[in-house]
């Protein structure tokens, strides 16, 4: 009897060890960034497209360039707080290497080799091009330093064990696209902006019990965490029923085809989107117009 227990225990430990190894935090492969030169001007557009400021600027602040952190993200697993990612060497990420920042954004892995929580939308950012992220980093390095200390997250057991996030990552992040098939160049660019950089799915797609985006309900609208009785709208083409110019005008001005105006967190998204070139906004529209249809 004793032997059986010991064996079972050993087997469980072995399984956990294999599990932890399979789901270990992955940084970018060494050398991934070598030879890629960051372009600050392009980085500014990528910064807007990826919406870093919406989460990392101080709550209630209007200054989209001071990334002092502090905004809270309630979830079923606890409350997360966006850290300081300004150029401050002590409180921000001023002395991180490019590879460390890129591994955080694309892989959700910290310089110390730990998993980040998916409240940091790396499950979407993982689809970004390395070159775009290098441009972004060049731009981030031009932003001001801020000395606000990062606030620890408020999450209980077992979610406070970062190693437990490995399985989540394996299931719900990666660089696969949701909408596949034969797409036009515009739709492909739009897919990068919506599924990747703009991380629209993080808010507009309902989540399953494990907190992963339910891609079968891609962009179908979802409850808003921490707000009872509020949902993000269903923006699949048949439900939204807007024309391409309607979508572009909304992303530029926040005004709907009925000339109501956007509210909630979408206001921050629009503050970012309106900085994108028209070609990119047209591409987002081209992509959204095929979501939920048989076209692709």
């Amino acid at each position: 009897m004793r032997r059986i227990i010991t064996r079972t225990l050993l087997a469980i430990i072995a399984l956990i060890a294999i599990g932890l190894w399979v789901t270990r935090p992955q940084a970018l492969a060494p050398g991934t960034l070598s030879g890629i030169e960051g372009d600050v001007a392009r980085g500014e557009i990528i910064y807007a497209a990826m919406g870093c400021a919406s989460c990392h600027m101080a709550p209630g602040s209007e200054d989209r360039l001071v990334l002092s952190g502090g905004k809270s993200f309630p979830s079923d697993f606890g409350t997360f707080y966006a850290p300081n990612i300004s150029t401050d060497p002590d409180h921000g990420i001023g002395n991180w290497s490019d590879a460390e920042i890129a591994s955080a954004v694309l892989k959700g892995t910290s310089p110390a080799g730990q998993h980040y929580y998916p409240a940091f939308p790396y499950a979407s950012y993982g689809r970004a091009e390395v070159g775009d992220v290098v441009d972004l980093i060049a731009y981030l390095r031009t932003l001001p330093a801020d000395q606000s200390p990062s606030r620890p997250h408020d999450v209980g057991f077992p979610f406070n064990i970062r190693a437990s996030l490995g399985g989540w990552k394996l299931l719900f992040s990666g660089s696969d696209w949701v909408v596949t098939g034969t797409l036009t160049d515009d739709q492909i660019r739009g897919r990068m902006l919506v599924e990747g950089l703009g991380h629209c799915g993080e808010c507009h797609t309902p989540r399953n019990a494990l907190g992963g985006m339910d891609t079968a309900q891609w962009l179908a609208g979802a409850p808003i965490p921490g707000k009872d009785n509020e949902r993000t709208p269903d923006i699949r083409a048949p439900s939204l029923d807007w024309s391409a110019p309607d979508i572009v005008a909304y992303l530029k001005t926040g005004l709907t085809p009925e000339f109501d105006s956007a509210g909630g967190e979408m206001v921050d998204v629009i503050a970012n989107m309106k900085q994108l070139p028209d070609d990119d906004l047209n591409a987002i529209a081209a992509y959204l117009l095929i979501v939920g249809t048989d076209t692709p």
Binding site: I224, N229, L255, G263, I270
Partner: protein, 159 residues
């Protein structure tokens, strides 16, 4: 011009301050009427923006006169005293059929500032709308931003 603007902003701020201070509870009928009135007020914003925004989008042919009068209407609307509509106790935690958030009436509410920004954006639109299409297109973004600047903190999303 600068002076009128300052006066207007002050008026908006005062009317909002007055309502925040009024804590006498209105009866449900009064509240229902106030909610209807403010929603109608908002619908009038949308009505006039349909002309301006439609032209900006290229859906309606630009017409300086029509654009000018829509912008005039918007400026008149944003200057109307609104204190009567925003009764304490008419937030979405207290009653049905409203998306107005309790934050409007909180001690640290900045709703007066949001209303002030709306006045400024409407006036900038008034100056631009009758000039030409490019000027109108240049002003529409700030109007949308002013609407959104109040909807973000003070209006719940739909469910």
């Amino acid at each position: 011009m600068r002076k009128t603007l300052v006066v207007t902003l002050a008026t908006v701020a005062i009317s909002v301050a007055a309502l925040a201070g009024a804590d006498g509870h209105a009866d449900p009928k009064q509240i229902e009427a106030a909610v209807k009135a403010r929603q109608a007020h908002m619908q009038l914003y949308s009505f006039h923006l349909a002309t301006l925004g439609g032209m900006a989008k290229g859906e309606i042919a630009y017409d300086a006169e029509a654009a000018g009068s829509a912008a005039d209407a918007l400026v008149s609307l944003v200057q109307l005293p609104q204190g009567g509509y925003w009764l304490p106790g008419s937030d979405n935690a207290s009653i049905e059929n409203t998306r107005a958030l309790p934050a409007i009436w909180a001690a640290d509410s900045k709703v007066g500032e949001a209303a002030g920004a709306m006045v400024e954006a409407a006036m900038a639109m008034q100056a631009a709308a009758g000039t030409d299409l490019a000027a109108l297109q240049g002003a529409i973004g700030a109007v949308g931003e002013a609407c959104g600047g109040c909807h973000k903190p003070y209006r719940a999303s739909a469910n």
